[in-house]
């Protein structure tokens, strides 16, 4: 089977073509990966074929802050299908101001090796 990918690792957005075969037992044989201009492109395609992952950025509520929200992001990608569950977890958060940039708000989100961190400082109102 052939499949085309647009690499999302960096803004170059390489068009990558992978030639692969899916065995009956679910395992994957990747015959070739072409079109990438760096090693990360090949890694991305392998990951995408076996277990597609994404990072996510959003914002979480802050009480008593100079603004009602603090922007947050995951420090590592999680399986794509879990994105909306991560969003639910973020929606449940309410922090108290002040919040410092870089603070870990949730560690090992949904049991994955990724933390949710604050990406800005929110001072007290």
């Amino acid at each position: 089977m052939q499949r085309e990918f647009t690499c999302i690792v960096c803004p170059n957005g390489c068009r990558i073509t992978a030639d692969y075969e899916k065995k009956e037992d679910g395992s994957l044989i990747i015959r070739s990966v072409e079109g990438q201009t760096c090693r990360r492109g090949e890694e991305y395609v392998r990951q995408e074929l076996t277990d597609p992952r994404r990072t996510i950025a959003s914002s979480a509520a802050v009480k008593g802050g100079e603004m009602p929200l603090c922007s947050v992001r995951l420090t590592a990608p999680v399986p794509k299908k879990e994105i909306f569950r991560v969003m639910e977890a973020i929606r449940e958060i309410t922090m108290e101001a002040p919040v410092e940039e870089g603070t870990v708000i949730l560690s090992n989100v949904l049991g994955y090796d990724a933390d949710l961190i604050a990406t800005r400082t929110v001072h007290k109102a």
Partner: protein, 411 residues
């Protein structure tokens, strides 16, 4: 009246990077003027990640990227004033600003223009129909959701495939809205391919090329938009109209460098970039007035904005010290399939960074930079896209002080 060696107009990524570099080059008498309440510019509301891959080698969110530069400014104690809008810059570099403390006047030796850009609005597109609530630009939607915690709608149509529009398509989906589709009048997307992938394809949001909004209905709130297919000349094709019920229409239809102050100072603009005409020092045709970042030409990536502003700082520092910069008389012009090339003037005696944007997508091309018969640089490229700016380092050894330089892309 105050005096300063350098006044920087705008404390976004370009202004901050210029300030830090100037300071490190020994120019310490700097003043940054910012109209918002805090420094950081548009990055404050760009909470998605992907910033800094080129400049820092890591993927940061917008606020984190800005915070790195704000931290450097604070560390050096570079003076800045927020909540203050520059209202006039004269040819003689007298800067007038209005703020909480009243009117402020600063006589500068050099002025750095880093005002960024603003979004094209519905008015610029002349879309017919009523004028209900629920029609807004992507950046405004982004500010409501990311800074003010206000959800803007439930059923959303997006017009324009700019990067901010696609990023908002994903953001709205994550926040529970239904994004019906993105419609783009051009036959090619205007945003980066990776954003089509991770913001639209990931969430099953369709992108329709060669389509536009031809009617808007609704009295108080938007009720529906009519979408038509367009022909090769971007004219709507009768009979292709389709009505979509929605409560929100987001426009991501282009950015316009914000250059009223630049024009007021008497500087000339480039018809294509809508930014100042600059030389290799990023100096406009008014000596001592410099420009970099999105106010000069719209960039795809903030990393390149910062790097351009850092390069500008070197020219501005030399200007402050010497009182003038070497003449730049060699013009750089855009040839086949090149929308614009920048800088528009060079000396022919120094290395410079050439920035250009293709007009149309093309595959297996040859990019050529020539000066008369002399080929300065030739590069084969697998693909070029209008969404992707190209930057090339041009070496002085290949340049001459006579004859204009042409940049072209052909197969």
């Amino acid at each position: 009246m105050k005096y300063a060696d350098v006044v920087i107009v705008g404390g976004g990524p370009a202004g901050l990077a210029a300030a830090v570099r100037l300071y490190d080059m020994g120019i310490r008498d700097i003043l940054i003027l910012e109209r918002e309440h805090s420094l950081g510019g548009i990055l404050r509301q760009c909470i998605h990640d992907g910033f800094g891959l080129t400049r820092f080698g890591v993927s940061l969110s917008g606020p984190e990227y800005a915070s790195r530069f704000i931290g450097e400014v604070e560390k050096r104690q570079i003076p800045y004033i927020t909540d203050t809008t520059v209202i006039e810059i004269t040819r003689d570099k007298l800067v007038t600003a209005a703020g909480e403390a009243g009117l402020l006047q600063v006589q500068a030796k050099a002025v750095i223009l880093t005002m960024g850009c603003r979004e094209r609005t519905r008015g610029a597109l002349a879309i017919p129909g009523t004028r209900p609530a629920g029609v807004m630009t992507a950046g405004v939607a982004q500010a409501y959701i990311n800074l003010q915690n206000r959800m803007i709608g439930k059923e959303v149509v997006i017009l324009g495939s700019g990067d901010i529009g696609m990023i908002m398509a994903r953001r709205l989906t994550l926040e529970g809205a239904h994004v019906i589709a993105v419609f783009e009048v051009m036959p090619v997307a205007s945003g980066l391919p990776r954003n089509i992938e991770q913001c639209l394809n990931d969430y099953g949001i369709p992108l329709y090329l060669s389509h536009t909004v031809t009617d808007i209905k609704g009295t108080d709130r938007l009720e529906s938009v009519t979408i038509s297919q367009v022909d090769d000349h971007m004219q709507p094709i009768p009979g292709t109209e389709k009505e979509y019920a929605c409560d929100t229409l987001i426009l991501s239809v282009g950015l316009i460098p914000e250059n009223e102050l630049t024009l007021g100072a008497g500087a000339s603009l480039d018809d294509h970039t809508k930014g100042a005409l600059v030389d290799e020092f990023y100096q406009s045709d008014i000596p001592g007035i410099f420009a970099a970042g999105n106010v000069l030409h719209v960039h795809d990536l903030v990393d390149f904005v910062s790097m351009e502003a850092e390069a500008l700082a070197e020219g501005a520092a030399a200007y402050v010290r010497e009182g003038s910069l070497p003449e730049c008389l060699v013009s750089v012009t855009a040839g086949d399939n090149v929308g614009h090339a920048l800088p528009q003037k060079v000396s022919g005696e120094r290395d410079f960074l050439l920035s250009l944007r293709p007009r149309r997508p093309m595959q297996d091309v040859r990019l050529k930079v020539s000066q008369g018969e002399n080929i300065i640089l030739e590069r084969k490229m697998k693909k070029v896209l209008p969404a992707e700016m190209i930057q090339l380092k041009i070496r002085k050894e290949k340049l001459s002080r006579e004859g204009s330089i042409t940049v072209s892309i052909s197969q």
